[in-house]
Subunit: 310 residues, 2 copies
């Protein structure tokens, strides 16, 4: 694939489509939304308003870190604090579909609705890639970011039209395009971290406290595995409790699963055969998180498992 | 420790205590209750009635297999089918303590109560070992088989007195005694399999269907790990579900945890560093069990985890 040509064509197409209107996009800091952001700014400059929504489901320090990376590239990003809105929408929900739906609705209908009105935006850029479309069509995944594929009339329901400039690319293509666009390696080579973020790393209810637990575990897993060369790695907080002993007393503790996989494009995946000293160290650090007393390593390939748990 | 002398002393003490009365004991097929059975029969012969209660929580084929091993040693064992009573007592229970209590009560108050009356037994032999006592006193474990340690007056509550001839031994001592008593290696060298059996391998409600799932996983884990040299290995069924894909459709599947540990006496334990081909093979076989789509390996030492989950 000729990535340089792809970029040139997309820039022309975006310019023609948007014309003199205003477009808006949400940046998560993942490689897909980052690539869309830079591509969009290359095409229409300040006509594209880029927003980073802090939905409380982010990794530690993520919002400020991402805004700074784009500021350094000369692209202004507006940071919107919507943490309370998301936590309130997620309260009491345990079903994975209901959790995803609550995040989608809060994001589009509430937070983005306000911003679209504020900026009088007509177009919304989305980082949808080919694998998202295939998995959604196949019924494997309910992607939150490809409304049109799900038959939703976005103009009518949300008040804007959706543009998906990456929808013909797979993950490895996106990384190449990102590199050509001058996006720093810490984003272009970054492991996937889907939109609902830490909410997809929690089995059961998403609360501020449980987010804090999985956020700490995520930090440990990312520190320990960033040099593993794996396709994706994550920490998942289960809803189950298991028995343990602390200070010679019986207790019930929470369970963290470490998931680390090899994959080319997320369609299939297999467990990374991490060396034993690394597994032991991960476990030692994770069971120091308050309330956690088990650390498990997920051995399952995709299929029959998915990479995520929720 | 002089194991030969230990056996001689226990035989004399048991004879003196029981006199011309009838004693009864429950055999689970584990090394502790097997050793008590042979020791008791050596001391008082047919005055000891040995019962194997099928509580529905056993491994595949276990009841018949154990009865045959003892028949081959010339020790008659009565097989009692109490599966329905146990399943009915466990129905709807998810709290680990409540599950253990239901098993204890069904075992002692119901099933054993009947047998004690039937045989007019005055004494009950128990396979309690030193680690059980220590952990119960420390509040780490609620052992089902050491009522006296918990301050229960067994004569009053259950109608018989409890004798615990192994209560000064640790697991490795028991194995030596078992060997000296001529107990076959498949029992004396057997990995621990505590009384509540598969019920301690199920997080959440114990039902006939969930027992069937964990029984299949247990069979696979024991086949694959019997030559691992590990102290104990098991399969645990979690209550949580995780997403998966089967035939290109999204599904929710059950999660099996494989636990395999190194230990001397169960007071402390560490994960067995199984070779990767073995881990992969375990996972491949386990995700073929109907309804299961994840296989995790537990990395956690004891402490802070216990060996069991429930």
């Amino acid at each position: 694939m000729d990535y340089k040509k792809f970029i040139e064509e997309q820039v022309v197409e975006i310019k023609q489509t948007v014309g003199d209107k205003i477009a808006i996009n949400a940046l998560s800091g993942g490689v897909d939304s980052s690539t869309v952001t830079v591509l969009g700014h290359k095409a229409i400059g300040k006509q594209l308003k880029t927003i980073f929504v802090d939905n409380s489901l982010m990794r530690a320090g993520e919002p400020k870190r991402v805004v700074k990376i784009f500021a350094d590239m000369g692209i202004p990003v507006e940071l919107v604090d919507a943490r309370k809105e998301f936590l309130s929408a997620l309260k009491g929900l345990t079903d994975p579909e209901e959790k995803r739906q609550a995040i989608t609705d809060t994001f589009y209908k509430k937070v983005f609705g306000r911003l679209v009105k504020k900026y009088k935006a007509t177009y919304l850029f989305h980082g949808t890639i080919l694998t998202d479309i295939e998995e959604t069509v196949a019924g494997i995944k309910r992607q939150h970011n490809i409304l049109t594929q799900l038959g939703i009339d976005t103009r009518k329901d949300f008040g804007y039209a959706v543009l998906e400039p990456l929808k013909t690319l797979r993950k490895d293509d996106v990384r190449e395009v990102a590199k050509l666009l001058g996006i720093p390696k810490e984003i272009s080579q970054r492991i996937p971290f889907p939109g609902p973020a830490l909410a997809t790393r929690i089995v059961g209810e998403v609360t501020a406290q449980r987010l804090e637990t999985v956020r700490k575990a995520t930090e440990i897993v990312e520190e320990e595995l960033s040099d593993s060369g794996a396709f994706q790695y994550m920490a998942v907080l289960l809803n189950d409790y298991a028995t343990g002993i602390r200070n010679n007393k019986r207790e019930f503790g929470q369970i963290i699963v470490v998931r680390c996989v090899e994959s080319v494009d997320a369609r299939q995946a297999s467990v990374t055969k991490l060396p034993w000293p690394k597994l032991i160290r991960l476990c030692e650090r994770i069971v120091k998180i308050p309330g956690v007393n088990r650390c498990l390593y997920d051995l399952t390939p995709k299929p029959p498992a998915t990479i995520e748990y929720v």
